[in-house]
Amino acid sequence: MAGMTQTLAEAPTLPMTEAAYLPGVAYDEMFTAEGDVRTHYDPLHARMSTLGAEELAGRQRTLERSFLLQGITFTVYGAENTTERIIPTDLFPRIIPAAEWARIEAGLTQRLRALNLFLDDIYGDQQILMDGVVPRELVLGAPSYRREMQHLYVPHKAYANVCGSDLIRCQDGQFAVLEDNLRVPSGVSYMLANRDAAKRTFPGTYRAAGVRPVERYPDLLLATLKSMTADWRSNPQVVVLTPGVYNSAYYEHAYLARLMGVPLVEGRDLVVHENMVYMRTTTGLRRVDVIYRRVDDDFIDPLTFRRDSSLGAAGLFNAYRAGNVVICNAPGTGVADDKAVYAYVPDIIRYYLGEDAILPNIETFLCREPRQLQHVLANLDKLVVKAVGASGGYGMLVGPHASQAEREAFAEAIKADPENYIAQPTIQLSTAPCLVDGRIEPRHVDLRPFILSGEKTIVTPGALTRVALKRGSLVVNSSQGGGSKDTWVLADDQGPANGSARP
C-alpha cells in the first residue's frame, strides 16, 4: 500500500487555535502527508481560519442546544434513571470529491445488487451453495438464516430495501467496505439533521462548495417502499413499525414517519385477521399494505419467531407469505451481512455479476478454518476480532489496545467457539478535523452511506460520518461514545456549476 511509510511533514497549523493540528500516521481527510490542504477542503479551511476559538465554541453550543431542543436524542439506560442524550455532533463537515463519490456509488450499487441476488438464490434454488462458492453450513447454519423465507417471491429481488454499509478510508487513501448492514440500519436521520445544522453553521461555505442535497431521502424511501407492492400506483397504505418510544433509535423512526407522512405504528396497533394486516384507528380497522419495519426479525411475529415478543403482531409473517402485506427489509436479510459471509462478498459479486468488486473488502480471517484460526491466535496483538453475531461494537477485541489478560481471555472464547469469530488486521481509519474541548484535533472517522433498493437502486449522495471522539480510538459506534458529523458530497470537483462562489 502506498502511503504506509508516510513520514510526518511539519504539522500544518490552523490559525484559529494556538495548537497545531497533528495528524498521525493515518490518512487525513483535510491535509496531505506534506501538510498541504487538499484542494476540495480549501473553502472550509479558509473559513475555519477566520473563526476564533470562542466563536467556534459558541457555534458548537448552539448546535448541541438545537439537537437537544429538537429531541434528536438516544436513550441511555442508567442505574438511577433513564436519560436522553444527544449523539455528540461535530461542527466541521467531512468533504468527499465528486470523482471519489462516483466510485463509492458504483461500488455500493454493485455490492447491493450482488447481495440481493445472493439472498434470492439462497432462499431459492441455492445454486451458489451447490457450486461451492460459499460453504453451505455457513449460510444455512447462520442464526439469521430464515427457513421460513424459502421460495417466497420478493418483487425486484429487492430483499434489502434499505442498506447502510460502513466504509473506511485506509492509509493509502482508498475506500474499503468494513461491513454491510442489511437488517434495520439506522443513522439516516442524523445524516439529515447534521445537514440542517451544517447549513446553518457554515451557510456561505456550503453554498460555495457546491454540495449535493440529501433531503430527498424520505420521498425516495417512500417511493422505494411503494415499489415493493404489485400495484403501487394505487396508493398503498405504508406504515413505519417501531419497537416504541424506549428504543434508542425511536427519534429516527418518528422522524422518517413524519417526513414520509405515514403512520408510526407499534405492534400493539396491528391486528392480523384472515391473513390481512390492519391497524386500529379511531374510525375502525384500516388495511396496511407496506410495513417499513424497524424491529428485528426475531420480534416481528411471536407465532413464527420469538414467542416472548410483544413488539410485532401475531400472524404477521403468514400475512406476508400470503402476499397480503410487504415487509421491508424482507425477513432473513441478516444472513447476507453476517460477518463470516462478508469474507465471501467479492466471490459473490464475481459469481452473480461476473465483475470484480469495485470497493475492496478488508482482509478477513475466518476462525472456522483451522489454518486461519492458528494465524489469528498467533497474532491477537495485531488483529481486531469480532463475534459474528454481535453488533454495535460489542463482543469485539481490538488486539493492539487490549491487555495481555484480555487477549488470553478472548483466545479461550475463540477456541471454545471458533465458528463465532472472525478477525481483521487493525486498520488505521482516516482522520478528519474535529472540535474537541475547544481545540481542533484529528479524530478517526468512518462513512455510512445509505442505499435504497426497490424498483431502482439509489445511493443517497451523502452519508453519516461517524467519529471516534476519544483520542486515538478506532471505535465509532454511538453506543461506545462515538459522535457524528455531516458529509458533503461535491457535485462537481471544478467548483459549483452555477456561477461564482459567494463567501
Binding site: 437537544l68 431542543l69 429538537q70 429531541g71 418510544v245 425511536y250 427519534y251 418518528a254 422522524y255 414517519a257 413524519r258 403512520p263 408510526l264 405504528v265 407499534e266 400493539r268 396497533d269 391486528v271 385477521h273 390481512m276 391497524m279 386500529r280 384507528t281 379511531t282 374510525t283 375502525g284 380497522l285 384500516r286
Partner: protein, 315 residues
C-alpha cells in the same frame, strides 16, 4: 383517520398541558395571596390546596413548601413537573403527528422544569418561574394553533384541553361554593379576587361586572359566560364542537356516544336559568358537570380508542 393509540396520546397530551397550566396558576396565586398578612391569604391557600385534592386542616399551611411540592416534586404524580413530563412522553409517542414548532415549545419547557437548577430558580423567584411556565404553555398552545392542521390530531388535543379545563374549573368552583364549605362562607374581597385569578378570569370579569366582586357574579361568569374561554359553558361548547367533527367519520351506529352526552351537557348550561343560581346551592349543578364530564371521557374511549375489535372487523 388516525391510530387509536395516537388519538389517546394526543388527548392526554392536551389534558396534561391544561393541568400543568392550572396547577402553575393556582400555585402562583396562592403564593401571591400569602404575601399580605391577612386571613384571606390562608383562605386562598386552603382553596388552592382543596382544588387539587389536598385540603389539609387549613391552619398553618406552609404555603411555600406546599407550592414547591405542587410545582417541582417529581415523586408527586400530580405536580406541574410530573404533568409536563407526561405531556412530553405523550408528545414523543405522537412526534410524527405534531409539528416541530409545537414539539419544540413543549420540549423546551420540559428541559427547563427538569433542569437541576430549576429548584434554585424557583426558590429565588417563584413568581417569575411560574410566570414563565405559564407563558411557555401559552406559546405551546399558540404554536399548535398556528402550525398544526386543524384536523383530527389537533382536535383530539383540544378535546383533552377542554375536558380537563371543564373539570378543573368545576372542581375549583365546587370547593369555593358548594353547599357546606368547610372553611366558612367565602365573602372576603381578597379571597374572591384570588378565586378569579385562579381561573385566569379577573380582567375579563371586571369588564363585565366592574369591580363589584360578588360570589354570585363569579359563579355566573365562570359557569355561564358564553365568550370567556375558561367558563364551563364555553368549554363544554368546545367539547361538543370537537366531538361533532371527530365523529363525522365514525359510522352511524357509534355516533350516539360522546357527542350526544356533550350536546346534552352543553344544552343544559345553555338553557339554564341564571337567576336561579345562588351562591349557596350551586353544588348539585357543579357535581352534575363533573359527573357528565366523566361519562363523556368514558364514551370517548369506547368510541375511538378501546372499542371491541369484533365490531369493526370487515365482514
Amino acid at each position: 383517520m388516525m391510530l387509536a393509540r395516537v388519538a389517546d396520546s394526543l388527548y392526554w397530551l392536551g389534558r396534561y398541558i391544561e393541568r400543568a397550566e392550572h396547577l402553575s396558576r393556582l400555585s402562583s396565586v396562592m403564593l401571591n395571596a400569602t404575601l399580605d398578612q391577612t386571613d384571606a391569604g390562608a383562605h386562598a391557600v386552603w382553596i388552592a390546596m382543596a382544588a387539587v385534592g389536598e385540603p389539609g386542616d387549613g391552619a398553618g399551611v406552609a404555603s411555600f413548601e406546599a407550592a414547591r411540592t405542587l410545582v417541582l416534586d417529581r415523586q408527586d404524580q400530580n405536580s406541574v413537573v410530573s404533568s409536563l413530563a407526561r405531556a412530553r412522553e405523550n408528545a414523543r409517542q405522537v412526534r410524527d403527528q405534531i409539528t416541530t414548532e409545537t414539539w419544540e415549545r413543549l420540549n423546551l419547557l420540559y428541559l427547563k422544569v427538569t433542569d437541576p437548577r430549576a429548584g434554585k430558580e424557583f426558590s429565588d423567584s417563584s413568581s417569575t418561574f411560574l410566570h414563565d411556565v405559564i407563558a411557555d404553555l401559552h406559546l405551546f398552545k399558540g404554536a399548535a394553533d398556528t402550525t398544526m392542521s386543524h384536523g383530527e390530531s389537533w382536535r383530539f388535543m383540544m378535546l383533552g384541553i377542554y375536558m380537563e379545563r371543564a373539570q378543573l374549573v368545576s372542581r375549583l368552583l365546587e370547593v369555593c361554593f358548594a353547599d357546606s364549605p368547610r372553611h366558612g362562607r367565602l365573602d372576603d374581597h381578597v379571597a374572591l379576587v384570588s378565586v378569579l385569578r385562579m381561573a385566569c378570569a379577573l380582567e375579563p370579569y371586571l369588564r363585565v361586572y366592574t369591580a363589584e366582586i360578588e360570589p354570585r357574579h363569579i359563579l355566573e361568569f365562570l359557569v355561564f359566560d358564553e365568550d370567556f374561554p375558561r367558563s364551563i359553558r364555553f368549554a363544554t361548547a368546545q367539547i361538543e364542537q370537537h366531538l361533532t367533527a371527530l365523529t363525522r367519520s365514525v359510522s352511524a351506529g357509534e355516533r350516539a356516544g360522546p357527542e350526544r352526552l356533550a350536546g346534552r351537557l352543553k344544552a343544559r348550561l345553555q338553557y339554564a336559568d341564571v337567576d336561579e343560581l345562588k351562591a349557596v346551592g350551586a353544588g348539585p349543578l357543579l357535581t352534575t358537570v363533573v359527573n357528565e364530564c366523566a361519562s363523556i371521557h368514558e364514551a370517548i374511549y369506547e368510541t375511538f380508542v378501546a372499542y371491541p375489535l369484533e365490531m369493526r372487523l370487515p365482514a
